[in-house]
Amino acid sequence: MDASAVTLALNLIYHIAVLALVGLGLGIVFGLLGVMNMAHGEFIALGAYAMLAVQNHGLAPGYGVALAVLGTAALGYPVERWLVRPLRSRPLDTLLATWGLSLLLRKSIEAVFGRQYQNVSNNLSGTSTLLGAEYPDYRLLLIVVIFVGFALLALWYRRSPAGARLQASVANRPLAQAIGIDVDRQACVAFVCGVASAGLAGALLAPLVRVEPLMGMDYLLDSFFVLVVGGLGSLSGLAAGSGIIGGTQVVVSTISDQTGGYVAVLLLSIGFLWLRPNGLLARR
């Protein structure tokens, strides 16, 4: 393999891993609560701004990751309790409510940090040579972290009692409730975990991407495409969706151009919504 082929392969893996990371939160919340969280992107932005705040105070990036996860989780609890739960079983209303929340969060970020572009510095800015190709160290680290993280998550979801209770709530909510699973609590935990994973994604990506108040919108759209193709509410669906969307985009934009890549992703998403609205690996 020559260097450009290795670079392409690494780009592909990186892109798929990032899509999975970014889509995870949206997938959890939709899968377990049936709520399309329109503020998903803003929780990612909050994670990135947590890194910025920590950097501005001269602290180590590790604190930023902790602040991103804990901060978004702390915000997620009241949002679930007083915004999402009262609107359960009214999907269109939760869509509007979380959309309103996204505007509020965006404007709050603007009020605190200003509208300007921000720079979260990268402490691992070198590159390594892998099979003849030069690749950014931070991306390599991110790929490893995401793959290990997802493996552990899948193991926990399949094997642990808590995972089993979650699966039961997803598969059949009334029956799960009947056998004594507190589904409201499950939903709350799921929502908090969903937005905290978005916060984590934002924190991990912040050193690589542009950071500004509107950044969340890109991620919401990417996550949405992944879930449309992969199917809502399962880890394997998320993996399949990320693979197909990421693969299509990277390969098509490499052989033609970026416009072609974007068009291919849009066509694919429209095709799935039209012919296979439940995605590849549907929950039901």
């Binding site: 450009s4 392409l8 780009n11």
Partner: protein, 386 residues
Amino acid sequence: MKRRSLIQKSLAIGSMASTGLLSHRQLFAAGPVKVGVMIPMSGPAGLFGPSAKNCAELAVAEINARGGLAGSPIEMIVSDAGVPPAEASQAALKLWKGQKVQAFIGMHDSAVRGALVGVFKGQVPYIYTSTYEGGECSAGTQVLAETPAQQLEPVIPWISKERKLKKWYLIGNDYNWPRDTNAMAKKYIAAAGGSIVGEEYLPFTTDNFDASLAKIKATGAEAVLITLVGGASVGFNRAFASFGLSDTVTRLGTLIEENTLAGIGAQNAANLYSSSGYFAAIDTPAAIDFAKRYTARFGAQAPPLNALAQSVYDGFLLLEAMANKARSMDPQKLEAAAKGVSFSSPRGQTTMQDRHGKKDIYLARADGSGFKVVQVFKQVGAGKNC
């Protein structure tokens, strides 16, 4: 009672002085001239709204202190130009016909400019100030915006020689400004003995630049001309540096201003150059003094100065020069006065020629935390636009 009326009077005088009413009454016999300021307060360019508004405010205060426009104080009315062209032209029409605005200064995209020119039809003076692709020559319109001819014609030969650049890769967002800029750039690159090894236009939605970076690497480009805008430029330049390309490949941008550079980050800005009519870092006495006055008025935490925002200040200076030459706010007289009129600003001297400003162009290099001007090209004409 006496004491109360004294308090009331002093309050009234105080509030008049603070709103500027008192000074106007003392200085000016005539009523105020309303000037419409069309700047993006929302949308993707909304980032530049606050700094542009500050520059407009500063210009109005300073011009009024000098005697205003042909003896009348300026009253500025700001309107959002970060909206679709049809909405912006509706808003401008309301200002013009409803509020009797007598001149417009606009810093916005070319689509909005096209719509405004269509509404104004040369009946009201209109000064367009933001960097653009060139070619505007409508009656009543004066352009202070830098054209590709200004930003690149002197710069490409200089930087090609200085950095020994032969192979150029052109990358921009997919709309007319990057495409027209690159059409001009190709001529200048060929004239400087260079060649184009790649040309690419990305949709605004692009947030993954890996495919482009791989192509830049594969083509062996020595220089990249960047006409990506705003967030796309930030994302591209960060990814560019993360792949280690910044040490070997020179980057030149024609819309990389202070905010964009802040987003790119100093650590990602090695060998990054920007060509513009203004940088906050210009170290002439006029530019330093301007930055001081800006900070004195709006505080150290004010949105940072940049070329787009500062162009609005220059727009007011041009209007002042035109009005004082014409000694009138009559559109026809102002139009006649605009020909060959000259004024001095933080950018240096600007002289109007074929509805465009002939002025100094600065080439700056990203340096640590900001820009450092490395070369000044004196009195560069805007090229053929009419």
